[in-house]
Symmetry: C2
């Protein structure tokens, strides 16, 4: 069966790393049909729309979308795209790679971030000159859906041993309380082990010893900040992939941005986008191919060639060719 | 003029480190009158109230309050106490001390955390079986008051060179937008330099290089999580003090908790509480005495004696005596 893959390079180095990842996918024995679409600052400057209707529609109908990066318009692009694929979970692995400078090289974490609600639900009001409010929404149904996913991801059949629920229910008693209780209950019903941690305590503890955690399930904004914290521990956003998973489709994107300082020079590191493409393969049940891409990227990170961000002087094309050769 | 000082040891090691800090204050030539009051798990178990009315009243009328720690009831104690003193800013320094193990020993940051609103404003509803909401509140007036404080704290007359505004206004456009714009405007009006950073980007950047930041001004929950992250970078919560400042009074507390594993053994490290007491002295304009306490604690941390958490085998009393001797 042919899978329809939407490709949205976006701005800056998105224009360089996204085609690199597509090249890697094309080098595999997979039945993909690629369609490219525009989003981001550049298309907004031209048309007034950061996310053209046809791009939204493409993501909403394709089996999977590979997205690069967007500049100033990032929130206007990525939040609707996550909605387009109906994504209820954002998977964010944060792992240090051998040979890459990291504050905490022993870090190997996966965040399962709720991807639809919390403060992202977008209900804000300027009530008076003085007062603005935002309605933070937590639903039992979204918490359940996330928890069911987490139970598959980190349950007895997996390589993980349950998960940690991160929350701030000592202050947000109703909302994070509902989140925590619902997730814990689904896990208990599925025979999956969980423990819990306050998000502030997590921030301290993960710096002191990241190996005390493995899979972390958390609300939307907490996942945003805590996964970026973990990115800091493994040496930066440069190598981190992510997957936004919905019931019928997914959206895959590197965690890094547009890197305007090096955009256009052909030296952007394509690793995070290629690893995101490996997550796309996994999602579409091309498990062997996914494993091959992961292994090829790891070898290339270890033995080179390396782009300037990792101290080398190779180009995006050199690294991409090296990954393809190692497949 | 005699200053009335409320002393609330609370639970666990709070009962050990708070009297230690009071001993240090008593060793100075200051005109303080101490009154002790109860709060926390123990008094709740006895009376049903984690924060008895008379304790609240004492904090609401004393010139300054020194608080130790509370256990399970922490939120029920500390949030009303902050309100009792009318605290609009929580000052949280995070600095690594020479000779103390730290992931990032070069860390030297101060968080100025908004202390009254955001998700802490406490308006939550369970709308239906499925839906819970929390109203996050941001006011121009609270943002202004915080900004005015920050301008004094980090402005031209200070040892700092302006401050960084941390926010998530790309998602919380009205609320964090109002916060960011108000704080930036007050700073501009006062000739104080500012820059800004998204809280997720801050989490990555501060791990990669904490020296790129100095004073960080942020909303309530962001300050909670990001200051605890900084605590992780300097080696843990063990040495971190904090000051909750209101228009007419203040509340001073170590950032650490009750440490139930070592409570009652007389070996808790009193440093964070003694440094919090130094912040109390500063607040009451005993600048020389404050400097003497800071110096005595730093010397003691460097040369010992040390409590077990820092690899020594001294008692709380030994460390307290050593600090007093060095005053
Ligand atoms: C661009 C922004 C809206 C987005 C988010 O907050 O989710 C980004 O920080 C991310 O984590 O992908
Ligand atoms: C105990 C809790 C309510 C409190 C907070 O969230 O402010 C604590 O984490 C702190 O930072 O002092």
């Amino acid at each position: 069966m042919t899978h329809e893959i939407a490709v949205i390079p976006g701005d800056g180095i998105g224009q360089e790393v996204t085609p690199a990842a597509v090249e890697v996918l094309e080098a595999l024995d997979v039945d993909f049909s690629f369609t490219e679409a525009e989003a981001g600052d550049a298309v907004k400057a031209e048309t007034g729309e950061a996310l053209p209707e046809e791009t939204y529609e493409l993501a909403a109908t394709a089996d999977a979308t590979l997205f690069g990066a967007a500049g100033e318009t990032a929130a206007d692009v990525i939040l609707p795209l996550r909605e387009a694929v109906g994504s209820f979970v954002n998977i964010r692995p944060a792992k240090a790679y051998p040979g890459i400078d990291a504050v905490r090289p022993e870090t190997d974490l996966v965040f399962l971030r709720e991807n639809t609600e919390g403060v992202y639900s977008g209900h804000e009001d300027r009530l008076t000159e003085d007062v603005a409010t935002l309605t933070r929404v937590t639903t039992q149904s979204a918490s359940e859906q996330l928890a069911e996913f987490a139970c598959e991801y980190a349950g007895p059949e997996s390589e993980h041993d349950g998960f940690t629920i991160a929350h701030k229910a000592n202050v947000m008693r109703e909302t994070d309380g509902l989140f925590r209780d619902t997730v814990a209950e689904v896990a208990a019903d599925n025979g999956v082990d969980t423990d819990e941690v306050l998000i502030d305590a997590f921030a301290t503890k993960v710096c002191l010893d990241p190996t005390q955690f493995d899979v972390i399930v958390c609300p939307n904004l907490a996942g945003d900040v805590l996964s970026d914290l973990a990115a800091g521990l493994v040496g930066g956003l440069g190598l981190l992939p992510s997957a936004n998973i919905g019931p019928d489709r997914g959206l895959f994107e590197p965690v890094h941005g547009t890197a305007p300082d090096i955009a256009g020079e052909g030296v952007a590191n394509p690793a995070a986008t290629i690893i995101s493409a490996a997550m796309l393969l996994e999602y579409l049940d091309y498990d062997e191919e996914a494993a091959a891409v992961h292994a090829a990227v790891e070898e290339t990170l270890a033995d080179g060639p390396r782009t300037p961000d990792l101290g080398g002087n190779a180009s995006t094309a050199d690294v991409t060719a090296a990954v393809i050769e190692r497949l």
